[in-house]
Symmetry: C2
Subunit: 416 residues, 2 copies
């Protein structure tokens, strides 16, 4: 008696529902952004397009790591507090200058931390283990071995050594290393340009102060733009398109040439979603890769490869759209931008403080608050954005599980 569940499959039976793992592994359009050269002062989190190597050794000269005296280590062998050794002070090294004096047998040269080791010296005695014995003479009360108190000329990097790898976003210390090596600009992938469309006759711009009955403001576009930015992309506003397949197709065609990736928060009704799929399907080959992910919330997700450009059709409600874009869209933005080693996400382990149900065969994304080692699941319909704003992070319940019991230790991915 029950009719076929049109809402769940409709005209899309043709496209199998995929799992998250299948989508991440299998949906990989070819598009990659080209390389551009930028100054290191603007390169935080940018993705090197090629490894960078050291043109010369670093620090480039043997340096003292302590304040003290440059010596020949052999001159200190056997000394002790009871039987100090005595060395003549032949001079002092100044910071940032070549030593104008060498260390010969029985002599020492005063060294600041970071100073260049003078010729003849092979170690530096810390000042704490010396004392002035007479004018021009020090006593040394602890022996040093060759290399003590010294950084070798190539100890931070040998000539030709890798400074930063390709594909991993640059971190603060990576920029420091490039600066140390005299590399002041770096070839990085251009930020993927991600055009974001919102569709739906009910959707109006956020600046609309007086809503007419049935209208809602576009909450998704600004939030998606923020996630694009977090993933290293450059969001571009596609605007709001009415539920009209012709209009949508025209808008998509106009955008695709200037986009590295396209995101559509699709209309929320079945009809609107089907129209989105039809418009995307005509945009380029090979076209739609899947229409439906075994994820809750977020099932009505469309992934398409339009001549190498990834196109993501997100569910119509903002919460589902943001959940899916974090799981599927941000990795695609990173991939398109040449990132092969995504940065780690904040996460914490916590114990669920109540049972969570989950249907087998779909991955559930459960929003949680976290406090004192406890994760409290937040329930509420997937249409509610407030569940996301109340959450500190989310827990993933895998496809094979039918729920998690209170007390289970879970990994919470935190919103940063």
């Amino acid at each position: 008696m029950t009719p076929a569940p049109r809402g769940a499959s409709g005209g899309r039976e043709f496209f199998a529902t995929r799992t998250l793992a299948e989508a991440l592994a299998g949906f990989r359009p070819q598009r990659r952004t080209p390389a551009e050269t930028i100054p290191i002062t603007s390169a935080l989190h940018r993705v090197p397009a090629a490894p960078v190597t050291a043109a010369h050794a670093l620090p480039g000269f043997a340096r003292s790591t302590v304040d003290g005296y440059a010596v020949r280590a052999a001159d200190t062998y056997g000394v002790s507090e009871g039987l100090p050794g005595y060395l003549d002070v032949a001079g002092a090294v100044r910071m940032g200058a070549a030593p104008d004096v060498a260390v010969g047998p029985g002599t020492a040269v005063a060294m600041p931390t970071g100073g260049m080791l003078p010729p003849g010296a092979d170690a530096v005695v810390m000042i704490e283990y010396t004392a002035e014995a007479a004018s021009g003479t020090i006593e040394v009360v602890r022996p040093v071995a060759p290399g003590d108190g010294v950084v070798r000329a190539d100890e931070d990097a040998a000539a030709g050594a890798g400074l930063v790898p390709a594909g991993r976003p640059l971190r603060a210390q990576d920029l420091g290393m490039l600066a140390a090596a005299g590399v002041t600009s770096v070839s990085v992938h251009a930020c993927p340009r991600v055009t974001i469309f919102s569709t739906g006759d009910e959707v109006v711009p956020p600046g609309t102060q007086a809503l007419l009955p049935g209208q809602v403001r576009d909450a998704t576009a600004v939030a998606l733009a923020a996630l694009v930015t977090e993933a290293g992309g450059e969001p571009a506003e596609g605007g709001i398109v009415a539920d009209d397949p012709g209009l949508l197709e025209t808008a998509l065609r106009a955008a695709i040439g200037g986009s590295d990736l396209i995101v559509i928060s699709a209309g929320s009704s079945v009809g609107a979603r089907d129209e989105t799929a039809a418009a995307v399907g005509r945009l380029g080959e090979p076209g739609i890769w899947c229409h439906g992910l075994a994820i809750h919330p977020g099932k009505p997700t469309l992934l398409a490869d339009c001549a190498g450009v990834p196109v993501i059709g997100l569910p119509g409600n903002p919460r589902s759209a943001l959940v899916i874009f974090r799981l599927v869209g941000m990795p695609l933005v990173r991939l398109t931008g040449g990132c092969t080693s995504p940065p780690p996400e904040p996460a914490v382990r916590a114990r669920l403080d109540r049972d969570v149900a989950s249907a087998a065969g779909r991955l559930d994304v459960v929003q949680v608050r976290v406090a004192g080692g406890c994760a409290t699941p937040l329930f509420g319909m997937s249409a509610l954005l407030s569940v996301l704003t109340a959450a500190d992070g989310y827990v993933i319940i895998p496809e094979e599980a039918t729920g998690l019991d209170a007390g289970t230790e879970v990994e919470v991915t935190l919103y940063g």
Copy 2:
């Protein structure tokens, strides 16, 4: 016989060494950046200066969460597949428009997901549980309760409800919530302006291609600028100042009026550090708070409060400077920028694959590589930046520990 360890205390015996916890809890200069109003499209990670509340309820009208038929729930009580109920279809709701038809007893109105519930209806039956019986009539095979398939008018936010709190950096979903509520600009703390000085006669700009003997390029400033950015600050280049207390004092005095925070990577020698302390000490009251942290690497750290502006004197070598700035400087940048709920840091639990020694009484920051659940400590002198670029993150060994055994499970804070 051993002379007093000048390198460890010198002229600074007066200032007790502090622990990290003491510094974080006790060193809290008053400076906070003022509020400024910016569009939500630029507000990712910015810190609201005041809570934002909803001017009206959200979504503002009762909405369907499914495709189906708006009904009076009572009309469906008792129906089943064997004994369907029959309802007359009085019309259809269009997206984004007020319904032009009401639901009376024995009638239903076709609803798209997200459509406005018509007058008289109190629930929506999913289309899956209906079928067209005759023209203008449907059969319903499952009962619904009042509220089923509906989001209430104030279910996402009641009028006056908090949308985002003050002091917590805005996340993507927070921006979406503001947009949904028609809030297109937000009052946030200005980004703290952090002026970064490098000192040392040996330090030359990163762009210096041919180094003279004893010179090193300034690796610290660009890396510190990146960490300032990550903490929500706006870095300003103070430049490189020679080891001359008069020059440094002049440079600091010129900068402090336009800075919310000042960072100095001090000269690496004891003398240069003492000169930095002297210059900072004359900059404003109450002045130096501590000169020495019980942290390795990074002991020679200076913290000062100059008329409410935090001044941080970092160790001279880049690696120690970056370690300390992460632990102490980034929290100060956030505090100055009004952030009371810092974002979570990426972290992972892993097992040490070898022993790590640590001196009791100081906190040790051990750089590690992480792979397959194992954390491999990276050793090397604190002067080496390459230890930081090779690391995936770091492990903190607390003051009371004297080391950690191989196999110990540790928390690794990951570089993002």
